[in-house]
C-alpha cells in the first residue's frame, strides 16, 4: 500500500480564484490585502455610559460629620477624604494612625476591623499604601476605609493595640510586601517560611518565583535567604 491517494477524476484541480467582480468604474480601488472595501463609517450615537457608572470625579467627603469630628479630635490626621462607588476613604497621616484608630474605635463605634492589607505602587513615592477597612455595628453598618502611605524602608505604626485581629493581617502584609509594622508584637512571616528571600507580592518579584533553597538545605545556604542573584545555584523557575 502506498500512502499516495489515487487522484480521483471527480476532484477538480484547485479551483481558480473566484473571478474578481469587475469593479464599478466609479468605485474606489480596494486597499491592498482587503477583499472588500471598508464600509463607510456609520454615524452611530456616542457610547452611552453604563448605568450608574461611577465617574472619575470623587466627591470630597471631608465635610461629613464623621470625618469632621475625626479631624477635630485628632488634629493633623486627616489628609484627604473622598467618596468612590459609595465607599468613603480617608487618607491618614502615618504618625496619627494609631490615635485616629483609637478614636474611631472608642468614640465612633468602629469595633470591627474587617481587613488590612497593602498595595505596592512601584514607581510612586512613597511606595506603599496600607489600607484598613473598619466596620461599625452601632452606626448603621457603616464602613470606612483608611489609607496610609508608607515609603520603602519606613515603618507603619501597628494597630494591633487597637484591634487584636490586625496581628495576622499585618504579618501577611509584612510577608507579602515587606512593610514593617512598628510595635507589632510578633512580626514574623506567615504564609512563606522563615528564611524566604523577597516579598512575593511586590511588583518587581518575578511571577515565575525564585528558587530559595534556604528552607530545604539550611546547612548549604546561609540563614536569611537562598542563593543570591549571582549565585550559580540559583534557578529561575519557569
Amino acid at each position: 500500500m502506498t500512502d499516495e491517494k489515487p487522484t480521483s477524476p471527480e476532484i477538480p484541480s484547485p479551483a481558480p480564484a473566484r473571478p474578481a467582480p469587475a469593479p464599478p468604474a466609479a468605485a474606489p480601488k480596494p486597499a491592498a490585502g482587503r477583499l472588500l472595501p471598508r464600509p463607510p463609517p456609520r454615524s452611530r450615537p456616542p457610547l452611552q455610559p453604563l448605568r450608574s457608572r461611577p465617574g472619575r470625579n470623587r466627591p470630597d467627603a471631608s465635610g461629613r460629620p464623621l470625618i469632621a469630628s475625626l479631624a477635630a479630635a485628632v488634629p493633623g490626621a486627616v489628609l484627604e477624604a473622598y467618596e468612590f462607588v459609595g465607599e468613603t476613604t480617608v487618607k491618614i497621616a502615618p504618625e496619627h494612625l494609631v490615635e485616629a484608630c483609637r478614636y474611631l474605635k472608642d468614640k465612633e463605634g468602629f469595633t470591627y476591623l474587617v481587613d488590612e492589607t497593602a498595595v505596592d505602587w512601584k514607581d510612586r513615592q512613597p511606595r506603599f499604601d496600607v489600607l484598613l477597612l473598619l466596620h461599625s455595628f452601632s452606626r448603621g453598618q457603616e464602613r470606612l476605609r483608611l489609607k496610609v502611605a508608607v515609603a520603602e524602608g519606613e515603618a507603619c505604626p501597628t494597630v494591633t493595640g487597637v484591634w487584636e485581629t490586625a496581628n495576622w493581617m499585618e504579618r501577611e502584609a509584612f510577608d507579602m510586601y515587606g512593610v514593617r509594622f512598628d510595635g507589632h508584637p510578633d512580626l514574623r512571616r506567615i504564609l512563606t517560611w522563615d528564611g524566604f528571600q523577597g516579598h512575593p507580592l511586590r511588583k518587581d518579584f518575578p511571577i515565575e518565583g525564585i528558587d530559595t533553597g534556604a528552607a530545604i538545605y539550611p546547612d548549604r545556604y546561609p540563614e536569611g535567604g537562598g542563593p543570591g542573584p549571582k549565585d550559580t545555584n540559583r534557578k529561575v523557575l519557569s
Binding site: 453604563l50 465607599e87 470591627y112 474587617v114 505596592d120 484591634w163 495576622w168 504564609l191 507580592l201
Partner: protein, 387 residues
C-alpha cells in the same frame, strides 16, 4: 455514674487547676498531616500533661500565591482561581469576586440572574455546612452522620454538575451575570431534592442533637464570647453562636436578599455545641431560601442571565470592597484597579484565615483530645487560609 436526665449535660471538672507536672511543659507538634486538621494546618502545642498551655498555628503549607496570580490575569480569567480558595464553597467565592468588579463597573445584574446566583449560593451553603457536619462529627468519633450527610451532599454536587459541568470548582458565575442559562428540567430536580430535604436535616439532628457523647464532647468547649469574637474579627456561624445576629446578607444586603424571607439563627453559650445548632438551623434557612428562589424562577421564566457588560472589562481606577456571607463568614474582595484590564491588586479577606487567628484563645486550657473539636468548630478550609 448516675444517668443524666435528658436535656442536661454531665458537669466537667474545672479546667483551671494546678499544673499536673509542675513546670515541666512539653512541646508537641500537631499536624500538618493530621487528618483532623482538614488540610495542612500545623499547630505547635505546649502541653502540661494533657492540658494545653498554648497553641500556636503555623500556616502557609498550601500557599499558592493566588493573589499574585490574580494580578497576571484579566478580570474574567480571575474567576476560576477564586474556586480554588475555599474549594468546598466555590459559588460564594465566585459571587464575591463578581460583586466587587460589578461594583466598580456599575453593572446591573438582571433579576433572574440574581435569583439563580442566590439559589446557587444557598445550595452551596447547604453542601458546605453538611460537609462540616460530617467532618466535625467524624473528628469526634461519630462516623454515622458522615454517611447521611454525604448521601445528600452528593445530590447537590450532581445538580451543580448538571448546571455548570463541575462538582467542586464550579466557575459558575461571570461578571454581570451567569455563564449559561439553566438546563431544562433542572429546577424540578432541585425542587425534588429540596422539598423532602427537611426530613434529612431531622435525621442529622436525631443522630447528634440529643446524643450524650456528642454533647459531652462539645458543650462548653472553645467558648468565645461576642466581645472577643468582634475583637478577633470572627464572623459567620461562630459569631452568631455567640449571640450576635449579624449576617452580611442582612447587614449589607446584596442581590435579591432583601426580597427573601429568612431568619438569622443565633446561639447563646458561644460554645461548640451552639455552633453546631446554629449551622444546622442555617441549613434549614438555606432550604427556605432555595424554595423561595425556585418559586420566583418558576413564576418568572426568561432568558436574561447577563447584564450589559463591555467586551473588554476595564473598570475605572479606584478601590472597591464587596463581601458576601460565605458559609464560613464574611468573604470579601478588596480590589484596587488602575484602569487596566487586569486587577492591579486584589486582596481576599478570607473568613477562615481571620477566624483561625482566634484558635489559640479558644484552645487554651482544654485537653489535647478536645483540640480536634476546637479546630472543627471554626470550620476552616486550608485552601482559603493559605491562598
Amino acid at each position: 455514674m448516675s444517668e443524666p436526665t435528658p436535656g442536661t449535660v454531665a458537669q466537667f471538672p474545672p479546667l483551671a487547676g494546678p499544673p499536673l507536672l509542675g513546670l515541666h511543659e512539653m512541646e508537641l507538634n500537631f499536624g500538618p498531616q493530621h487528618p483532623s486538621t482538614h488540610g495542612v494546618l500545623r499547630l505547635v502545642l505546649k502541653v502540661d500533661g494533657e492540658r494545653i498551655v498554648s497553641a500556636r498555628p503555623d500556616i502557609g503549607y498550601l500557599h499558592r500565591g493566588t493573589e499574585k496570580l490574580f494580578e497576571t490575569e484579566t478580570f474574567p480569567m480571575v474567576i476560576p482561581h477564586t474556586d480554588r480558595m475555599d474549594y468546598v464553597a466555590a459559588a460564594t467565592n465566585n459571587h464575591a469576586y463578581c460583586l466587587v468588579v460589578e461594583k466598580l463597573l456599575g453593572v446591573e445584574v438582571p433579576k433572574r440572574a440574581q435569583y439563580i446566583r442566590v439559589l446557587l449560593d444557598e445550595m452551596q451553603r447547604i453542601s458546605s455546612h453538611v460537609l462540616w457536619l460530617a467532618t466535625a462529627a467524624i473528628d469526634l468519633g461519630a462516623i454515622t452522620p458522615f454517611f447521611y450527610t454525604f448521601r445528600d451532599r452528593e445530590v447537590i454536587l450532581d445538580l451543580f454538575e448538571e448546571y455548570c459541568g463541575a462538582r467542586l470548582t464550579l466557575n459558575c458565575m461571570r461578571i454581570g451575570g451567569l455563564p449559561v442559562d439553566l438546563t431544562p428540567g433542572w429546577l424540578e430536580k432541585v425542587r425534588a431534592f429540596t422539598e423532602p430535604f427537611e426530613k434529612c436535616i431531622d435525621e442529622y439532628e436525631d443522630l447528634l442533637t440529643e446524643n450524650r457523647i456528642w454533647k459531652e464532647r462539645t458543650v462548653g468547649i472553645a467558648v468565645l464570647d461576642e466581645k472577643r469574637c468582634i475583637e478577633w474579627g470572627v464572623t459567620g456561624p461562630v459569631l452568631r453562636a455567640a449571640g450576635k445576629a449579624w449576617d452580611v446578607r442582612r447587614a449589607l444586603p446584596y442581590e435579591c436578599y432583601p426580597e427573601l424571607e429568612f431568619d438569622i439563627p443565633v446561639g447563646k453559650n458561644a460554645d461548640t455545641y451552639d455552633r453546631y445548632l446554629v449551622r444546622v438551623a442555617e441549613i434549614r434557612q438555606s432550604r427556605r431560601i432555595v424554595l423561595q428562589c425556585l418559586d420566583w424562577l418558576e413564576k418568572n421564566p426568561g432568558t436574561e442571565i447577563r447584564g450589559k457588560v463591555p467586551r473588554v472589562i476595564k473598570p475605572p481606577a479606584g478601590e472597591a470592597y464587596a463581601s458576601v456571607e460565605a458559609p464560613k463568614g464574611e468573604l470579601g474582595f478588596h480590589l484596587v484597579a488602575s484602569g487596566g484590564n487586569k486587577p492591579y491588586r486584589l486582596h481576599v479577606r478570607p473568613p477562615s484565615f481571620i477566624n483561625l487567628q482566634a484558635l489559640p484563645e479558644m484552645a487554651q486550657g482544654h485537653l489535647v483530645g478536645d483540640l480536634v473539636a476546637v479546630i472543627g468548630t471554626i470550620d476552616i478550609v486550608l485552601g482559603e487560609v493559605d491562598r
